[in-house]
């Protein structure tokens, strides 16, 4: 049984929505149980009192990455069939910068805000409402961004290709860097004054 299952036709497309719901439940549970439903806990990463975002984010990325690489090697999964988001240089960076500002103001990102909504955080609900409005505004003023949105398309570029490394070397470095960051985070947490939330 080689994955990805739906593109390979192992699971019919009609199951798509059911699978989406189940995966969403897992996603929501993992986020909420780690504390991503609390904006103050999330913001701890940026002030150094609680690095939960850094830990969860990098552990998740490394787990999924190793899984994909190992499964690909063992022939259980065809990594070349995975969808790679196209890389548009300027719009990715600008979008990231705008999102960072939104992160600092709102204290949520879209996924975590839905988690906050689920447990009754009013600020999360307002954040989600803002999300709708933001996307609506973007769509309305899209002609202004159109040029930037479509410029500098590098397609489904891979980071290790851009850096001139092999996939294995980059993945290994990522794991080492992440472990280093985890230790640094623990160190910083001890130094920074605890914040009650």
């Amino acid at each position: 049984m080689t994955g990805p299952l739906i593109p390979m036709g192992v699971i019919p497309e009609t199951w798509n929505n059911v699978i989406a719901l189940i995966i969403g439940i897992g996603f929501g549970f993992a986020l909420e149980a780690s504390g991503f439903s609390s904006s103050r806990k999330i913001m701890g990463t940026f002030f150094g009192y609680d690095f939960v975002v850094l830990r969860v984010f990098f552990t998740a990325a490394i787990t999924a990455m190793s899984g994909i690489i190992y499964f690909d090697f063992m022939g259980w999964m065809d990594a070349s069939m995975l969808y790679i988001n196209p890389y548009y240089v300027s719009s990715a960076i600008t979008g990231g910068l705008v999102m960072g500002a939104g992160f600092a103001l709102g204290g949520f990102c879209p996924g975590t805000s839905f988690c906050g909504v689920a447990i009754g955080k009013i600020d999360a609900m307002i954040f989600s409402a803002g999300l709708f409005v933001g996307i609506f505004i973007f769509s309305e003023i899209y002609p202004l961004f159109e040029k930037m949105y479509n410029s500098g398309n590098l397609g489904g570029a891979m980071i290790y290709d851009m850096l001139g490394l092999s996939k294995g070397v980059f993945a290994f470095l990522l794991i080492i860097v992440a472990i280093g960051m985890f230790y640094a985070a623990t160190f910083v947490e001890k130094k920074v004054k605890k914040v009650d939330y």
């Binding site: 190793s66 690489i69 065809d78």
Partner: protein, 208 residues
């Protein structure tokens, strides 16, 4: 610090080392040798001359005949509507565009089965779909469609019908000696060209 974290760090580094020493898997669309052998052993890739002729006469736009013989052989005689891709240029980039067109049934032919089948095997290995071989090649096509002996009246109905079909197809391609044949013979190959053009248009569209 919790001792477990040291253990977990080591475990994570070991997993990372595994990734580091793992050779990168190559992803091409080539089918596995074992699957290729199964495909070679499966005769369903062979289409009979009558089937192909029927589709040619019906101007099937999804049919693309590919002549893998040399250009000189192609120019001296070829099945109407075919395009010429000699075997040695079967891996050229322009060929890949045609092969990648999923809407076309690509049928290789040569004088007999051998060269066309070799072209088929190479393309099958590269993972192309909807590729076939004309069974018997031009020789058989010529000797069944162009040259056909009138069966005796005592033959079964099927054989007589087959003869009539072949005779009709032959007249469609090359005209006959009855009056009014000039126009017909002129028109038929031209139409065959139209089929090819449609096909190429489709392949260009798919490639772009």
């Amino acid at each position: 610090m919790n001792k477990n974290y040291i253990f977990l760090t080591i475990l994570a580094v070991v997993i990372g080392l595994g990734i580091l020493i793992m050779p990168e898997t190559k992803h091409d669309n080539q089918i596995k040798p074992v699957d290729l052998l199964i495909a070679i052993d499966d005769p369903s890739r062979f289409l009979s001359t009558d089937v192909i002729t029927d589709r040619l006469v019906k101007k099937d736009p999804t049919l693309l005949l590919i002549d893998v013989r040399t250009a000189s052989q192609f120019n001296s005689f070829s099945i109407p509507g075919a395009i010429n891709i000699p075997l040695d240029s079967i891996l050229a980039r322009s060929t890949a565009e045609i092969m990648g067109n999923k809407d076309l049934d690509k049928v290789f032919y040569s004088n007999a089965d051998v060269t066309s089948d070799q072209a088929w095997i190479i393309n099958k290995r590269l993972g192309y779909k909807a590729i076939y071989v004309l069974q018997g090649g031009v020789n058989k096509w010529f000797n069944t469609i162009v040259i056909n002996e009138i069966p005796a009246d005592t033959e079964p109905v099927e054989i007589i019908e087959l003869y009539q079909f072949r005779k009709g197809a032959c007249q469609y391609f090359f005209g006959n000696n009855e009056t009014g044949s000039v126009k017909e013979s002129n028109a038929a190959p031209k139409k065959a060209v139209v089929i090819t053009k449609k096909a190429t248009g489709a392949s260009a569209g798919g490639g772009c």
